[in-house]
Each structure stands twice: as C-alpha cells, then as structure tokens.
C-alpha cells in the first residue's frame, strides 16, 4: 500500500510540475498566477467554503463509481444519473410548495434516489437478464436521459420570470442550512462524510457488502461459493445510481435552489477520476474529491486574479486523471502477469 501512496504522491508532484510549466508558458505574470492557482482557494472564507462545497457532489459520484468498481461492474451513466436526480428532487419540491422542510426535503431526496437508482439499476438488470454490457447501456441511457431532463428544465418546469434556462425556484424552506457564510457550503457536506462512512461500513461489514466484494474480485469463485451472483449486477448499479441521484438532489437543495440546464455537467465523469484516485476506497473518496475541487478552485482564483483561463484546471485534472489511470492500469497489468 505504501508504494501505492508513493506512486500517487509522485503522480501529483508530476502533474503540479506540468501545471507550473504551463503557467510559465501561458501567463504574463506567472508568479501571481502560480500563487493564486495553489493558494487562491485559501485566501478568503468565500473561496475556501465554495471549494469545499464543490467537493460535496464529487464525494457522492466518486462513491457511486467506487461501489460499482468494487463489484466489477462499470457505471458510465453518472452524468445522466446526477442530472435526473437533481430534476427529480426539484419536481418533488415544486409539487410540495408548502410542505414541512424536513418531510418535503426527505421526499425530494427519496425521489432523487429512486429515479436515479432505477435508471442505473436498469442497466444492471439488462446485464443480468440478457448479458447486455452495462458500460454501454448505462452510458446510452444516461445520454438519452440528459435530453429528457433538458426538455423538462426548458419546457414544462421552466421559470418564465427568469432569463436563465432553469426551472422555477423551489420553496425557500428547503434550502439547506449554510454552515460557512458567505460561501455556499451547507450541511450537505456532513451528509457526504456520513455517506462515505456508511458506504465504507456497508462494504466491509455487511453480508451484502461481503458478497459484492467477492463478486467483484472473482465471480466464478462467488458462484462456486453459493452467492447468487446475478443479483450483484443489479445492486451495485442501483446503489451507484442512488448515490448519483443524491449528488444531484443535494446540489439543488443546497447550492442552486432550482435545476439549471447543465448544472451538473462533468460531475459524473469526475466521479470516475475521484474513485480512481481513491483506489475505490469509500473513505479515500473524500480526500480525492477535495483534491479535485482544490484544483478547480485554484484555477478559478487564478482566472479571476490573473490572466489565465479556466481551462488550465481542466488540463491539470486531465494530467492527474491520465497519470492515475495509467498507474492503476500498470499495477493491474503487473498483477495479471503474476501467475
């Protein structure tokens, strides 16, 4: 495991070095840019809080992927699942404009969980029933559902009093309590941590978690041992969908107060990177999500206070993504080579 951490540290150092090289190349005031890129997120409470807040959905999407990877199923539908979860939560809130904040909020989250859980679970079901590749079907379903969500946001649920492509705002009572004003950071951060702990406990200590892990490591062995393996195509997919749905729902209640067109774009994909950095460890997802959020916040700060574009964060994230993927592929290849 130590080599794993050393490897990750090296990957990060190398990626940061490349970012610095890029800044030196692209910026007229590289010193200032580098300062804001690396320290910008800590210069004031607003930046810091927003950085932490943008890590929250990544924890959920990272967990969604980690759970699936641990069971050797691949959920590439994160994008659509987060988005649909957000819309479902919005729709529930709009349908219950005057409900009690806790009951209504809970109903909204339940809606998000159910919609996205079913959406992802379907791919697992297809896999179980007809051996349809869950990677392809989850991706296709997700791509299709994004268009459907777009339709609702810009059509039936559109807010005519707003120039944004967004739904009507949800009731004020649903807004999650801010915990670090003036930033957007809210109690969903606690939910994220609690969820990571719960998922970690579930995988390590429960009956279903054990069977899921065994299926993930060796399906033949699991079947031989008397585990009904087909069940574990559906469950990890549905669980991942539910976690993605939570990410979307909490974004609506905590950050945006409505569904805005494309508001969750990229979160599903970044979840994959987060899970890879965390090596599919549910608790490891928290620091991995923070790292991703930190890079993004740094780039935003550098963009506002200096002369580089936001794309530099995307480039840094891609570096890390490539290196981490290459590293895990390499260790996988080495593991395979051993008889």
């Amino acid at each position: 495991m130590l080599t794993g951490f050393t490897g990750l540290a090296l990957t990060l150092v190398f990626s940061f070095a490349l970012v610095i090289a890029l800044i030196l190349l692209l910026s007229k005031t590289p010193g200032r840019t580098i300062w804001y890129f690396f320290a910008g997120a800590f210069t004031n409470a607003y930046y810091l809080g927003n950085m932490l807040n943008s890590a929250v959905p990544l924890v959920f999407t990272g967990l969604a992927i980690a759970v699936a990877f641990k069971s050797s199923v691949f959920n590439l539908g994160g994008e659509g699942q987060v988005y649909a979860g957000g819309l479902a939560a919005t729709a529930v809130c709009l349908a219950l404009p005057a409900a009690n904040a806790y009951l209504g909020g809970f109903a909204a989250m339940a809606g998000a969980v159910v919609v996205s859980g079913i959406l992802a679970g379907l791919s697992g079901f297809f896999k179980m029933k007809w051996n349809a590749d869950e990677m392809i079907s989850s991706f296709l379903l997700s791509s299709a559902i994004i268009l459907v969500v777009n339709f609702f946001i810009t059509g039936p649920l559109d807010d005519p009093n707003n120039n944004l492509l967004a739904t009507l705002p949800i009731g004020k009572q649903y807004a999650l309590t801010k915990i670090f004003p003036p930033s957007k950071l809210n109690v969903s951060a606690f939910f994220a941590i609690a969820t990571a702990v719960l998922v970690s406990f579930f995988m390590a200590r429960t009956h279903a978690g054990y069977e899921m892990r065994m299926c993930g490591l060796n399906r033949e062995f699991s079947r031989y041992g008397g585990i009904s393996v087909s069940k574990y195509f559906v469950l990890p997919m549905a669980m991942g969908g539910a976690l993605n749905g939570l990410a979307g729902g909490l974004l609506v209640l905590g950050t945006y107060g409505a569904s805005i067109k494309g508001f969750s774009a990229g979160m599903g994909w970044n979840g994959i990177a987060v899970a890879l950095i965390a090596r599919n460890s549910p608790l490891g997802v928290i620091p991995a999500a923070l790292l991703f959020a930190y890079l993004e916040a740094g780039a935003k700060a550098a963009m506002l206070h200096s002369d580089v574009t936001f794309e530099i964060a995307a480039i840094a994230q891609s570096f890390i993504f490539y290196f981490v993927t290459a590293q895990s592929l390499y260790s996988l290849a080495r593991r395979r080579k051993k008889p």
Binding site: R205, T206, H207, Y210, R213, F221, R223, Y224, G226, I227
Partner: protein, 516 residues
Amino acid sequence: MPYLEMKGVTKRYSDDLLANDAIDFSVEKQEIHAVVGENGAGKSTLMKILYGLEQPDAGTINLDGARVVIHSPLDANRLGIGMVHQHFKLIPDFTVAENVALGAEPVRGGLFIDRSAAHARIGKVIESHGFAVDPTARVAELTVGQMQQVEIVKMLYRKAELLILDEPTSVLTEQEIRRLFDTLRSLRRNGKTCIIITHKLHEVKEISDRVTVMRKGRVVAVRDTAGVDKAELSRLMVGKSVLFQFEREKKACGSPVLQLEGVSLRRRASGRPLLDTVSLTVRSCEIVGVAGVSGNGLGELEDVVSGLRRIESGRILHNGEDISGLSTATLREKGLAYVPADRLHRGASLHSTVTENMIVSNHHGFLRAGFLAGARIQQFAERLTRSFSIDGAPQVPIGTLSGGNIQKVILARELASASNLLIVAEPTWGLDVASSQFVYEKILEMRSAGAGILLISSNLDEILGIADTIAVMYRGRIVAILPNAPDLSKERIGEYMLGLREDFARQTDAERGVRK
C-alpha cells in the same frame, strides 16, 4: 567438463523468499537429468533462470564450456536451450505446422513466409524422431499428449540441444507417458540432453540417468539414478520418510448418497455430447474415483454435480432427493462440499484474505442482523488455520500462500461445511508429497466418518491409492466401473481411459429416448 554448469546461482524474490540459494547444478551431454523437489523447493525458478525467464541475482552459467548470459527465452533458443512448459503455449486455431513455425518462420524474398520450406523442415523433425502428429492438423483437435509432442517438435525445430520439460507427465495417460519416455530416449540417442522436472519418483527411476534433489532453495543431493531407491529420494526431498501406502479399512458401505441417472450434457454449438448418459452411484463410507484424460468429461461432471451447470437430461439425486435443477447457492444451503480442480480461480479468490476465502460458502452462518460477526469469523478462521496447520496468517491475501497451503484452506473450508457428501477434483494436482499425504488423510477421515466421496482425478496413482470403486470416463461416457482390487493395474485403466476398451456398450438414442 559438464555440458551445462550453473554455479552459485542465487535468486531472491523478497526478504523472506530466497528461491535459489547458491545453487550448483550440472548436466552432462546426452543425459536425461531429473530435478525433483517439493513445491517451493526452487526447481521452477532454477529452470526459469536457465531459460531466461528470470535473471539471477548472482551466479554463472556455462554451456558447452563457454560462459553465457541468458536475458530472455530468445537468447536461450539461440543457445540451443528449449523449454516445454507445464501449460502448453499453443494457438488452438493454428495447425501444428503453423504453431511450430510461429516466430521462426522461414522467409522468402525478405517478406513472405515460405510455407513449403516450413512444412518440409517440420516434416523432417517429426519423421526423424518418430512423432505421431500430422503437421496439417489443427491443434484444437489434438490430444493432450499430441500437444506436448508439438511443443517438443517446436523446440527441436528451433534446433534445441538441451530440452527442459516442466512436469511433462502431469497431464498424460499411462500410455502417453510411455510414449513420451520413448521420445526422450530417442532424443538422447540422437545426442540431445534433457532436463525433466517432476514430482513422481517412479518416473525418475524409470527415465533419468542422474537426479538432482532440491529442498528449500538448495541442492541437497545429486545421485546416479541407478544408485538410489524411491524411499531414499523421497527422504531427501522432504527430509523425512513418508509412507505411500494408506491403511484402507474396509467398511460396510451404506445407502446411496449421490446418484446420477442418465445425466447428459451437450456442447452448445456442435451438439457433441460432453456427458453422455452418465450413471453413477456414490454410497456412504465409499470413495468413488472417476478417472479420465482431461477433455473427456471430468470437468463437466464436476460442473453438473456442483450445480454450476444445468444438465439437459437425466437426474441427479442427493440422499434420494432430486437436485438436478438446483443452483449452487441452493446446494450450498443443503451442505454441498466441493473442492474444485481449478483451485486458483474457482476455489479461491486470490486477492481476498484467507479469512474471506474461508467463509465464502458459509458466511450466512456468521450473520448478526445482516452484519458479519467479526469476532466469530476470526475465531473460525484461526481454528481452521490451526487444525489444518496452514502456513499463513488469516488476514493475508490467500494469493500470497503456497499452492499446498491454498489447497489446505479450500479443504478446510469445504470440510467445515460438509454434510455426508464430498466432491473432490484433482485434490493433489501440483502438490508436494507431504501436502498430498495430508489431503488424502483428510479425505479418508471423511470416509471413516461415513461420508460418500466423489473423487474426480486424472492422477491414477491417487485413484488407485484411495478409491474403493473406480469409474473411467472416455468421451463423456462411463466406460468402466471397477472395484479397486490389488490386481487392477494402471495399464488396464489407461486402456479404458484411451477408449481401447469398454465395458458398457454405447446406448442408442432409442434406448435412452425416454428422458430426452
């Protein structure tokens, strides 16, 4: 001066794993030299170093009087060293000739493969050594023995002078072993040198001129084969004498525990029967050994009795109850105990801990309100580790254990949940003498306790050693069911295994048409 001389060869894999410790090993020209030792004695490592698959940390290799450095199998081939691996490295869809020429094709005009030249050269190799393979046949159609011949031809085609054979007899029938030994003798006559790695001491006695015995990474003895007997070799290998004979008390066999009635299974595409109306009964206190060459239905038999594969017709009964359609999960609940032949993939999950491996079939019994009861599981794992003297802590990944210890974990797990039926397939494949002995003792204990045991094995010594009744399979059919009497010879079973003999006439479709 010896033909091959390895001096002070040392290979360390990790701090506590010294695979080869200053090995001195030498082979004379035109000699058949056996290398014996238990699992983990370092035989394979030494041969891998000689073949360029591993680099030694120290030591030198001299071949034909000259110092050589072997970085890769290609280097080894250039030096005239060839290796026949335990698991063949052939492409099933290619012909024999294509497989042999692969990587060393004669080229015409700098671009095209000269097929006719390749065929001519391969034909010459096959003819001059008396191999019985057709160069135009597809490898997928060959028997295991023929595939091994192709591997040898491949090496001779590459002008190998020194052949390394890694456990060449482990997959062969008695007749095929005869054939292989004839081939080796003919190679020796033609000036070739052979190194043969093996576990089987009578083969050492039969085929080799000299023998090197390894133990725990060191060479403990080099002897002229004629001057040692099997007991001494085995003492040298394990460091203590082991008994090969088992006390098999005859017990009154009780009621049928497992019954197969006309069980059939077809290959999906071709319709060729994989299991053809197999009928077999295992009674309590009885070990029924099913013998056969791989590819003749042993694996399929294993799959259907464990519920991993659905049968197409016939019935399987456990204690009189029809279990034909039941899944492995349901059979596990009914107390299925099954030690699979494929222990590294089916029998164990290598990246999971020993403990996790130990509870796969019975983890339902360790639940408290849906949660795994950690303390009880730990106690269970520690108890099994102790009672089966498993060399490895319960919390390490099972893949870090030796083959023998992995098998002990599997056996411990299966025996812990065994009811009155145990299915065991190839239980000692690749295990050393001491581990095999241990496995046999455990199986015999189960028998004494009244269980019925189905032993599926291609190792005739094993079947003759412990089975009460022997069934032989050929092309998916049971061709003989024989009581294990002292006059039953390996050769006779071998004839059944190769389809030269059969006791039961093949049923016509009309005869078995009742349950189609």
